[in-house]
Every structure is written in structure tokens, then in C-alpha cells.
Symmetry: C2
Subunit: 310 residues, 2 copies
């Protein structure tokens, strides 16, 4: 136990970032890795993740605020902006991800990214491929992360492999009904009333560099957008404040209704016209509705990347 | 057979780039991929690769000069500078590699890089993992590529997995003695006498962007450096010419003696002092000897990257 290795997801960690870090650390231990493998997180755990960890009786990972001098394995991201602080002063020794790729490193490492619904799908498959027993709790959080990231298999990022792996995890996690489990999870997350717009926006907020411009995109997945829609002025105010503070070109907040399957987007910044054009709609009063859009990664970022790089 | 997919290695293709492209295309076909999968190359085949393809009776891949509008799978590289021309006007749909990583793409794709001795090791393992029969010829070229990239298992990039996979390929390829096969291969490649310094340098030449500077590094693996050393003036002249033409900060030519296990490096450009310091030696008359150095990827590029980014 000489060497410490931290496995860590992206900033503003979501369920997949937290659960894949825990499950991958456990896998490495079960494979006999002699190093001290520590699952970690870059920020607070959201209500949904808290609900899942509690349900399966799994401890949350420890907080790693600064990666200076640390050896880290990135899960669920590769983007520099989403890595823990001072990652460039530490050493990235491995990456397992399912997102867009933005990575440069002169030393060759294991880097596996695959366009599946969640990083947890990849980690769960590793257990099955290597014939390593999955305990109930680990199966439960992996299942929760797959259901969370694929929005109960509704998101267009969902693949057959996500569904197959979920079916294999289901009996091990002793979950009877995936749909009911999913709705229960999303309800745990949709408890917005007591939260400030600032906290809601930052729950699942990511920054992207698109064509040289900093774009912030928050996604709020909920079973009902109406309560949030009423608070639009409060949201816009915070968004304008965040734009200045973080030097953003534009900030987008996606209110994703997983029942109606669509996004109401609040948008503030310099590139409203270009963003409206990208999605074939005019942005009125900082607002646009995008029916059928559930995935920031697949339906929002790639068209914006394309539009901004032209 | 609607869609055409090209599998292609880096510019100035070496044996691993050519053979992994052929073997990966074959694997995809055997897995029932319905698309038209075409192994391709970005440039001329070198003498070593030609020797291996002929020995195992495998056709060379077709030349793809321009990737505009093409769907491509990159093998054995991810660096923009090493991709085929106009790759940015085509679509990269997958990457399998064992080098440093330099990659940005907004659309998630399968990207698997692993610090093994060759890309062919990864491709061969896929055949074994998926229980897909390997034909003698394919086993032979994969084995040749592993032996080439690992310098008959002498290079520090060699892993236990490269050796294990080579041992599994050996009976299928009907090769009796890996060492003898390797020496035969490197001799086929060491036929420098009839070649111009320009052609020798460009046989395995790669460009890197290190700390904002363009550095060209050629590696010439040979069983005897003495004939090449005598032609130093001719080399330096060509190197100076290439530097101007390609806007290089510095150009390095590594004469790698695989028997003595070391590199004689010719170096020309602006950063001689910094490069000398990086390797703890003074560069005299554009020359430096690096004992024990066999791998550009592991022993040259990472220390230079570190030095140039400071």
C-alpha cells in the first residue's frame, strides 16, 4: 500500500461520476491492485446520488479539492475544464469515459471512451468480462447510474448494451422494476422548491470551449418543469451573474422534462441568434423549447460545436 | 454494402500502422460488420513492411491521399499532424492506438488507447477475446508488427502482454523463432545504401507540437549505424532544408542501433541547448549519443514535452 491513486469524476458530479468512481475502485481492488485506490469526488453529491447511495448502503467518496501532486484516474470525463482543480499539477494515469473527447498527454496511458449511455455501463461490463463478482450494493449504484444517465432508457444516448447490462445488474441489485426505480430516483432529484436558482443551476453544470468561446450549459432533469418555469427571472439573473464571473460567452440552462421528453432552455449571452439558428428556432425572451431533446451530450453540444467552429 | 469506412494508420506508415489497419478491417468483417471496411494507408510502404506482407502473402492496403468526406477509423495514432490530409473535412468514427493522446471531438466515439508495445497487440487481443479465428497471414503480420514496434521485445515500451500475445500468434503464423524472424525483418529495413538521406529520414518521420514549437523526429532502426554515421553531412543538409520547408523549430534524426541498444542522434535547429539539457548531455557538432534509448515514444517525446512546456 505505498502508492495512492484517486478515481474521480467531473466537477459538479452527477450520479454516474460518483458511482462509476466507487465501482471502478472496487473492481481494481478485487483484481488485486496493490496500490491504495481511493474513490473521490470534485464537489457535493446531489440529491439523486445521495438517494441511491443511501438506498444501497454505500459510503460517498471522499472529497478531493486539489489534484496537485496526485495520481488520478478520470472517470466520466476527459475535458480539462471538468477535471478537478490543478489536475495539470498532478498526473492523469487512466481515463474511462463516454463523453466527447478533449485530451492531450505526451505519456501513453489507458484511455477508453465509448459512446454508451453511461460510464457505469463500461465499468459493469468490465466486471462481467473479467468474471469478477459484483456485490449487491455495487450492482445497485451501477444500475442507478445507468438509469440516471440514460433517463430511464429514454435518452437518445441509450444503447442496446446499456439495456442489456442493466438487465444483468437488476437481479444482483435486487431491484424489481427499473421504471419505478427510475421515477423514484428522479423524484428524489426534483425537490427544487427549497433550493436557490444558483444551487439548481450548479447541480449539473458544465463548461465547454466551442470555437474559442466559453459556453456554460446546465441541465436540470425533472419530472415536472412548471415550478421551475415560474422562477425564470430568478434564473436569468443568476445566469447573467455567472456569465460575468466566469467570463462566459453564453450560458444555457436546460429544464429537461423526462416525462414529456423535451427541454425548455433559458439562454443568456452574446450568441442567442447563432444558437437559435442552430436549433432552427428563434429565441424569444431568453427562452426556447426543444421537443424531443433529452441529452446535452448528444443533442446540444455536437450541433453547437459544429455551429461555433464554422 | 452502402457505407464505406477506411481504417488508416499514421503518415509515413510503419509496419504497425499498416498491419493493424489490415487486421482490424478483417476483424470487423468477421464480426459481421455490414459496412464496406477498407484498410488504407497515408503513404508509401517501407521495406520492412513490404517484406512482411510478401512473406505472409497479404495485399498492401490502398492509398488514401485525402480524407475529405470520408469516414475513417484511426489506428496507431491520434495526433492531428499524423492523420491523413483533410481528416478535419472527413469524420473520425473510431480510434485504436498505443501512443500519446492528442484528440478533440465533440461527438463521442470509441477511443481506445493503451500503453502496450504496439496497436497490433490490441487488435490481436480483440480476436482472442471475441473468439474469432485468426488466419495464418493475419497472425503473421500482427506478429511482425509487434516484433517491429517492440524492437524484438528490447524496447522499454514492451509489456508482458506483448510477449504473451506474440507467443499465442507464433504457432498460428507458423513462425519458429521470433528472434530470427525479427533480425530478418530489421535487415530487410536496413538496406540504406541505395537510398537518399531524404528518403531515409522520411521513412519513419513524425512531427510533434511541443510547448508551441514544431519538432520533427525521425527514427531509423537499424542493425548497424556505421554506414549511416558516415553520411552525416548529407543528413544535416537535408535536415536543415526540411526545417525551413516545414517551419520546424528543431529536427532530430535518431539512428537507433537495435543490437547495441542505443541512439546516435543528429540534431539541427534552434533548441539544441534545451534538448542537450533534457538528456543531460551537450550536443557537439549537431550530435549526441543516447545509450539505452530505443523508443522515441517513451524515451524521447515525453522528456521533451516536459522540457518544452516549462
Amino acid at each position: 500500500m505505498e502508492e495512492k491513486i484517486y478515481i474521480i469524476g467531473h466537477k459538479n458530479p452527477d450520479t454516474d461520476s460518483i458511482c462509476s468512481a466507487i465501482a471502478y475502485a472496487e473492481l481494481k481492488k478485487k483484481q488485486g491492485d496493490k496500490r491504495e485506490i481511493i474513490p473521490a469526488r470534485s464537489g457535493d453529491i446531489n440529491d439523486e446520488t445521495g438517494f441511491i447511495l443511501k438506498k444501497f448502503n454505500i459510503d460517498p467518496p471522499s472529497l478531493l479539492k486539489d489534484a496537485t501532486g496526485k495520481k488520478i484516474i478520470l472517470v466520466d470525463h476527459s475535458e480539462p475544464k471538468q477535471r478537478p482543480e490543478n489536475s495539470d499539477k498532478g498526473e492523469i494515469i487512466e481515463v474511462i469515459d463516454h463523453h466527447n473527447i478533449n485530451f492531450q498527454q505526451a505519456t501513453p496511458i489507458l484511455f477508453h471512451a465509448e459512446p454508451l449511455g453511461s460510464t457505469s455501463t463500461i465499468i459493469a461490463r468490465m466486471y462481467f468480462e473479467k468474471n469478477i463478482d459484483i456485490e449487491k450494493g455495487i450492482a445497485g449504484i451501477l444500475l442507478g447510474a445507468i438509469i440516471s444517465d440514460t433517463v430511464i432508457f429514454r435518452s437518445p444516448i441509450t444503447t442496446q448494451e446499456d439495456k442489456d447490462i442493466a438487465q444483468k445488474l437488476k437481479p444482483i441489485a435486487e431491484v424489481d422494476d427499473l421504471e419505478a426505480f427510475g421515477i423514484e430516483m428522479f423524484k428524489a432529484k426534483s425537490n427544487w422548491k427549497e433550493k436557490s436558482a444558483h444551487d439548481i443551476i450548479n447541480t449539473d453544470y458544465k463548461e465547454y470551449e466551442l470555437g474559442g468561446k466559453n459556453i456554460g450549459i446546465s441541465q436540470i432533469e425533472t419530472v415536472d418543469t412548471s415550478n421551475l418555469k415560474e422562477r425564470k427571472d430568478e434564473f436569468i439573473e443568476i445566469m447573467e451573474h455567472m456569465s460575468k464571473e466566469r467570463n462566459l460567452d453564453t450560458i444555457i440552462v436546460l429544464l429537461t422534462d423526462i416525462i414529456k421528453e423535451g427541454c425548455l432552455a433559458f439562454i443568456s449571452g452574446n450568441s442567442l441568434e447563432q444558437i437559435g439558428k442552430t436549433f432552427g428556432k428563434e429565441i424569444k425572451d431568453n427562452e426556447i423549447y426543444l421537443p424531443g431533446v433529452l441529452s446535452r451530450k448528444k443533442q446540444i453540444v455536437p450541433p453547437l460545436e459544429k455551429a461555433f467552429s464554422q
